[in-house]
């Protein structure tokens, strides 16, 4: 396959950056999108040019490191996959592919396609935990019976890998889907109820502080989320937040 890549190049966080054209040859349909970029980088290194920087780690859809806005969509045109799981057979010979970093004021570009997603870490840090006594008398989690449906919903929320595609897709760069997944994961379980009131308020406060936009319920996040995190989580977070505020 022959492709024409248009890739965002940016020297460092302070430089301006621009789109650059990279024609590429010999791409196989079975390659992943990241493997295609590996081929490009090998060529660039052989030519003595600076390779394109991009984030990746597990390359099997579980770590959430890979990102990339591909032809205007986070993780590309395929659904329920991360960029590392996206196959080149989703593209046609001769296609032009535009590759940009996820854009949000809260996700500044570090270099080329690499962005700083530590805003998500800070949202997690202010509430993504439960307090349990670990001084030797730890209670077995299964000692507390939990309805299957709730356990399932909590588990689904917990499958969020923190990739940031929801923010990247949203026209408002809102982090509501991510934050609501993190809130829901705990809010649905009795172990998480203890700090529920504080948690939702802290996490929403941090989310706003980081400079993410306001949700307008377009639903783009749910469509683009590689883990299929549902908008129901956002409604749940809104409920949790309102009842926390009304309780005072």
């Amino acid at each position: 396959m022959k492709l024409n890549l248009k890739i965002w190049r940016q020297k460092d966080a302070r430089s301006k950056g621009e789109m650059k054209d990279y024609p590429i040859n010999g791409i196989e349909g079975d390659m992943s999108f990241l493997e295609m970029l590996d081929v490009l980088n090998e060529e660039l290194i052989n030519k003595g040019e600076e390779p394109v920087q991009f984030d990746h780690d597990c390359r099997e859809g579980i770590c959430g490191s890979c990102s990339l806005q591909i032809n205007g969509e986070p993780h590309g045109p395929d659904r329920l996959v991360t960029t590392c799981q996206l196959h080149m057979r989703k593209f046609n010979d001769g296609d032009t592919i535009v590759i940009e970093p996820f854009r949000a004021t809260a996700f500044p570009v570090i270099k080329d396609l690499v962005i700083d997603r530590s805003a998500f870490d800070r949202i997690q840090q202010v509430g993504g935990y439960i307090s349990v006594n670990t001084s030797g008398n730890t209670v077995d989690a299964n000692a507390t019976p939990i309805e299957k449906e709730k356990a399932d919903d909590s588990f689904y929320a917990a499958t969020c890998i923190g990739c940031g595609a929801c923010v990247a897709a949203c026209k408002n760069a809102s982090a509501m889907l991510f934050t609501s997944a993190k809130v829901s994961q705990f809010a649905l379980l009795p172990q998480g109820r203890v700090e529920a009131t504080e948690r939702v308020q802290s996490m929403v406060r941090q989310m706003d502080l980081e400079g993410f936009g306001n949700c307008t319920n377009t639903g783009a996040c749910e469509v683009e989320c590689p883990k299929g995190i549902s908008l129901e989580n956002i409604a749940r977070m809104n409920r949790e937040y309102l009842s926390a505020k009304l309780k005072g």
Binding site: K6, W8, M19, Q69, N71, G72, E73, P77, V98, E100, R103, A104, T105, A106, A169, K171, N172, A173, S174, M176, V204, R205, M207, D208, G211, F212, G213, N214, C215, T216, N217, T218, G219, A220, V223, E224, L231, E232, I234, A235, R236, M237, N238, R239, E240, Y241, L242, K245
Partner: protein
């Protein structure tokens, strides 16, 4: 309380509550307007009641105006903040791949409706204020239908009404159901809410358009 408005979720709830209030008001406004076609005497009677009832004029009307102001001011604030949240734009952004046009362009449809509300205010509210308090005409419980029908004589005004209501339909198509999500309602009733939203978003604006066209094509000639 001010702390509440500082949060993004609270701003959404303000948007949702003011929007739902306007949705409710719109249905009430439509009920009165449709009598101008179906039962002219009732239209005069109700219009007169609305125009001279103290509760309507001095309590409900200010609440309505406040509701509109809160809604569009908050809408503009949200839009500015959301723009800032992505200071550097994408070169290529496929918004249509994952969200509807209606949901992505609430500010555009909203601002067109706002511009229309300006005209509407000039046409009816300013006129009423002049009639009642400045020129200080005597009460005339039968004048409303004729005044209304006259308004729709010019083609330009009728066309503007039609355009505004088409955009209002697009605004409501997303907005009505969206307000439930904003308030945390997403459950087994959500599909029903979405269906009702679609019916409402088409039926009510279509009704207003019908009334405007009806009066345009059936002028009162004396």
């Amino acid at each position: 309380m001010s702390g509440l408005i500082k949060s993004s979720i609270a701003r959404k709830v303000v948007m949702a509550l003011s929007g739902l209030f306007l949705v409710f008001f719109l249905a009430q406004h439509f009920t009165i307007n449709v009598t101008s076609v179906l039962a002219p005497d009732t239209f005069n009677e109700w219009s007169h009641f609305m125009g001279y009832n103290g509760l309507v004029q001095f309590i409900l009307q200010p609440i309505l105006i406040a509701g509109v102001i809160v809604h569009f001011v908050m809408g503009i604030v949200l839009e500015i903040q959301n723009n800032r949240a992505r200071a550097i734009k994408y070169k290529k952004y496929s918004g249509g791949a994952n969200a509807s046009w209606m949901s992505r362009n609430m500010i555009i449809t909203g601002l067109v409706v706002l511009a229309f509300l300006g005209l509407h205010f000039y046409d009816f509210w300013v006129h009423e204020m002049d009639y009642k308090y400045i020129t200080a005409n005597p009460e005339d419980p039968t004048r409303y239908l004729e005044e209304t029908v006259h308004k729709f004589e010019p083609v330009w005004r009728t066309v503007l009404y039609v355009i505004a209501f088409v955009l209002l339909a697009l605004h409501l198509w997303h907005g009505f159901a969206s307000s439930f999500q904003s308030m945390g309602v997403n459950n087994k009733y959500t599909p029903a809410i979405q269906t009702f939203t679609k019916i409402y978003a088409i039926a009510i604006p279509a009704g207003f358009i019908f009334i405007a066209l009806y009066h345009h094509f059936n002028p009162i000639t004396q």
